[in-house]
Structures are given as C-alpha cells and as structure tokens.
Symmetry: C2
Subunit: 320 residues, 2 copies
C-alpha cells in the first residue's frame, strides 16, 4: 500500500486537487469549478464525490493518510476560510469541520495558499534543507509564507505572512482589502499591469502595450514586450523590482531568512524581475545581512505546484 | 542554595550586570565602564574580577547556573559581537568563547540587547503568557525582538529582528549603518530630536525647544514640552507615532503577534507616543488583523530591565 494524501488548492475560479505520495508524485489530479457554486454545502458534496471517483481511478493500492487544503484567507488554527473577497461564500466558512463529516478518521488541515506553497518548497522544492526562508507568491495578488526554525509562522491568529498588504505608499493605489498603497497593488500580475498603464499615461515613448486594454493585458504580454526591448515594459519591471526589493529587505530585517523564493505567474518573468529585485534588495539591506540572503525562483513544478503545496501541509501535519 | 544567573548588558558607555534569581529578583547589581577599555581582554578581565567580587557580596548561599549577555550586534549562534559601531572593539569579538575561559562549566549565551529585552518581557514582564509578540526598544536607536511560537526568532544568521533598519524613506535621513531612511533615524530618542529640528527649521510657531542645541536636547525635554502644549513637540510625537505605526502594521503582517511592547527611554513618553502609534497602526493594518493586536508599554522594571533581559536569556537557555 502506498501512503498518500490529498492536496486541495481552492482558487476563485477552480478548485484543483490531487493524490500525492510522500515523494511529491502526483498520482492523479483533477478539478471542479469554485465559482459555479453559490451554496457551499453543494460545492463540498460535489468536491467529495469527485475526489472519491479520482481515488477509485488510481491503479495502485493506496492508503489515504490526510488532507491538506490551501485557500485564500485560510486559517490554520480554526480550519476556516474567513472573509475571502474572491470567493462566493461570505463570512466564515468552517471548511475543515464540514469536510470532516466526509473523512472523520484522518487529519485535515487548512492554511492560506501562500503558506501551503512555502511548505511545498520546503518538502519537495528548493528549500529542502532550509529552516529559515520566505516564499512570495506572485499571482493576481501577492502572498507570503514565512518559515522560521523549520516551522511555518502562523502567528497569534493563524493569519501571519500577509505580505501582500505591507504598506508601500501613503494614499497609494486602492487595494481590494479596503486599504491603499498595499504591496500587491504594485507587485503582482495585476500590479505590474497597473504600473504599465500609469507609465503609458505619463510617457510618450512608443510601446506595443498601448494597443491593449487593461482587461486584456497580461503579465506574460508585459514580459514578452520587455524581452523585445519595449521601454514601457522594461521600466515596469524595474519599478516592480524596486518596490519588491525594498520590501524584501524589510522582511529580511524581521526574520533573517537564508533565502527568499518567488513563485507563481509573475515569477515566470525570471531575470526581468529577479535582477532589479536583487539589486534594490541588496541596496536596502541592513549591511549585516548583505550577501547572506539568496533570492531564487521556486523549484516546485509549475503545473501542480499549488496541489503539491497543499499536500505538503498534510505531510507536515502527519510528521507532528 | 538559591539558583541564580548573571545578566550582563553591554552598552556603549557602561556594562551593567546583576545576579538574578528565577523570579527576576536582582540580588545585587553593579557596572563597569565599557568605553574606557580599548583592549577587549583587559576589559573582560576587569569584568570578571568585578563580577566575582559582586558574587562574594551576596549574603545568601547561591549557585551560579549560567550567564546571559545582551550586546549590540550580538550573535546568538556564534556568541560574538560583530561590527558594533558604538563599541571600541572593531571587527568580530568572540565574547562567549573568551568568557568561557573564566566560566568553563556553565552555559553562556549572548544575543542583541533588544532580543534580550524581549525574553525579559516573556519571562518576567507583560508577555508571560504570550507565544507571539514583538518588543521594540526605543533608546538612542531602535531595536526589535520577535517571538514566534514561544521562541525568539534568531533567523538563519543569528541577527533577526533588526527593525531599526526597516526602510522608511528612499533617500531619507542618514543612518549610522551607512543606509539612508532607516526607521531608527525617525523613531528613537535621536530620531525624535531630528524631527524636532526639522520642524523648527520649517515652521515659525513659537517653541521653547528653539532655545536648545541638538546635543543638549533630550527625548525627555521634548516629552515635557509636549505635555505643556508645545506645538513643535506635539507634532514631533504625532510624526514619530505615524512612522512607527505604519511600520508596526507591516511587522504585524509578517508574524501576526498578539501584542507589541514598547520599551526604553522614548517609551517613557507614554500616551504621547502610544496614541498616535496606535491610531496609525490600526489605519494601516490589513483588516483581518484589526482589533487583534495590543500595543502596550513594557512591564519590565525600568531600573534594571536590561539586566533582567540578559538574565532571562540565560534562564531560557537552561530550560532547553
């Protein structure tokens, strides 16, 4: 019997899940819609049915050991999703308690998606031998997972690591959280789009990006334009790297990590983002830390990284 | 036999030490000069001789269990003081190794002064039942001690928690560390003096502080002026609290503490500092944390708080 866990990644549009062994092999994976279900109980029943079918389809004998879930605003201590702005279900969802009705005999744990990704990096990725590191997810928003002494930092209330809401600028860009000037309004796939539009509004230099509406624009387009030498795109990466670099220097002053990993869509831009971020991080680091902190891309497989992260949460729990 | 440890606090001018029992009673305390000794070995020999005399003067039977040391740029892992700008001894001082020659049979541990103060708060002060909190020291500079899951965060290199060097302003005030715009250049006894001078330079409102030179000005004078309604002093506290509040909101997004304690000279200003800091911290907090984080003054006795902190480090080590 191969011991496996289920890793579930809840996004605004899709809920992806996979059956993962201890080596991080994803034996099977699948997904259901998230936003199609306005009723949480119907969603959960569907998810359970689909998971059971997927389990049946695995062609080797397996034992299900646990379930790990990554979700926006996921609370590790309570097993809840609280006030997630990009999900249909409002208020507090008792996700773990409700899923326990279907799986009463195995541990079920939940945290936010960035924390799950950090555990994935530690168990299967580039942070395998590290006890102190930070992982930054750069998708629609920006998330953070902070590991100290080999353990994820959950904090007093279970919500530590919300680095997307670090304060960059007083009266800066409006953020979905209700504040202004949050880091993720500048540094994320959406953030760099906003920066591109601002630059277009200010400058007269030609750019192919002038032909694309905000809603059609993607981080990938900006990255491709930059690779072709587009000045607006290049400056947008420089600005994004500067803002991220300064904030990473601050994060280093807090927990002094061995490395910082960048993960997710915008991280695919590679050196376009890494180089300015490194430069500005180093410039703004307290001298005692300089040269000691690696800035790297995540080594998790892109295709099912979020599922791996959630499964890592389950394996980590089983080690306790 | 009463079990005791020695707590040593190394400052730029004085080295204070005390003999402390497990309840945080300081049985005896004394000090020697720090800056009088250009030769570290002579300093250490003198410190040892004086400590031995102090031990002899205790009038109850005691057993010495360990020694804890708080020092600027103190490295917990290596037991060293590295590149401390306000000490005479340059480069790296192997403090713990050298002190072990005098005390080979007991644990000797060293960390920076703010980390020691945080442990003092946890063992004897207001954080007794807390597992996640931050302590900020506000003296000549600004230091931070971060506790996560009941343990001090040392980070990968032993220097975590250098919150005085968080980046407040691009091309801001020059800092002793070589950077510009560091938090401690705005928020510390020295920082608020700099703010007062800047306000005097910009405004024409009358103020008693206009009669005092920078070198003679103290945080206490600014606080007394503010209590009398001096507009420059009041605005200086408002600005200091704003800058600190925003940065504390960022620190909360990292480790989500239950409370933040303010400690040291400038913290004596009490509500003058606490109120604007609270206001701006709350405004800049990610909504999920709002109303969950207490901002408090340290509950350690002011007179020998630094000695207590260092002694707490030794007791904490003995618990391991």
């Amino acid at each position: 019997m191969t011991e496996v866990v289920i890793g579930i990644d809840i996004g605004g549009t899709f809920t992806k899940y996979g059956i993962v062994d201890q080596q991080g092999q994803c034996l099977k994976e699948n997904f259901i819609s998230t936003d199609k279900y306005s009723d949480f109980d119907v969603y959960l029943e569907t998810l359970h049915t689909e998971i059971e079918e997927t389990i049946q389809s695995v062609d080797i004998p397996i034992t299900l050991m646990g379930i790990g879930i990554g979700a926006p605003n996921g609370n590790y201590y309570k097993g809840t999703i609280e006030k997630a702005t990009n999900l249909n279900w409002k208020g507090t969802i008792n996700f773990v308690d409700k899923l326990k009705a279907y799986y009463p005999d195995i541990p079920i744990v939940l945290t936010n998606d960035a924390n799950a990704a950090a555990l994935g990096e530690m168990i299967y990725g580039g942070a395998k031998n590290m006890k102190d590191f930070i992982l930054i997810t750069l998708g629609t928003g920006l998330g953070g997972g902070i590991v100290v002494n080999g353990d994820l930092v959950y904090g007093h209330d279970g919500f530590a690591g919300e680095l997307g809401h670090l304060n960059v600028k007083h009266r800066g860009r409006q953020c979905g959280c209700g504040k202004r000037g949050c880091l993720e309004t500048y540094v994320s796939a959406t953030g760099i789009k906003r920066t591109v539009l601002k630059l277009i509004s200010e400058k007269i230099v030609p750019s192919d990006l002038r032909n694309i509406g905000f809603n059609d624009l993607t981080a990938k387009m900006i990255s491709e334009a930059a690779k072709k030498g587009d000045k607006i795109a290049l400056e947008a990466f420089e600005i994004t790297g500067r803002i991220l670099g300064v904030k990473l220097a601050d994060a280093v002053a807090c927990t002094s990590p061995e490395a910082i990993f960048l993960f997710g869509g915008l991280a695919k831009a590679g050196d376009l983002l890494l180089e300015p971020t490194k430069k500005y991080m180093d410039e703004n680091l307290f001298p005692i830390y300089r040269g000691k902190v690696q800035l790297k891309l995540s080594e998790l497989q892109e295709t099912n990284a979020a599922i791996l992260g959630s499964s890592a949460l389950a394996w980590k729990e089983l080690q306790k």
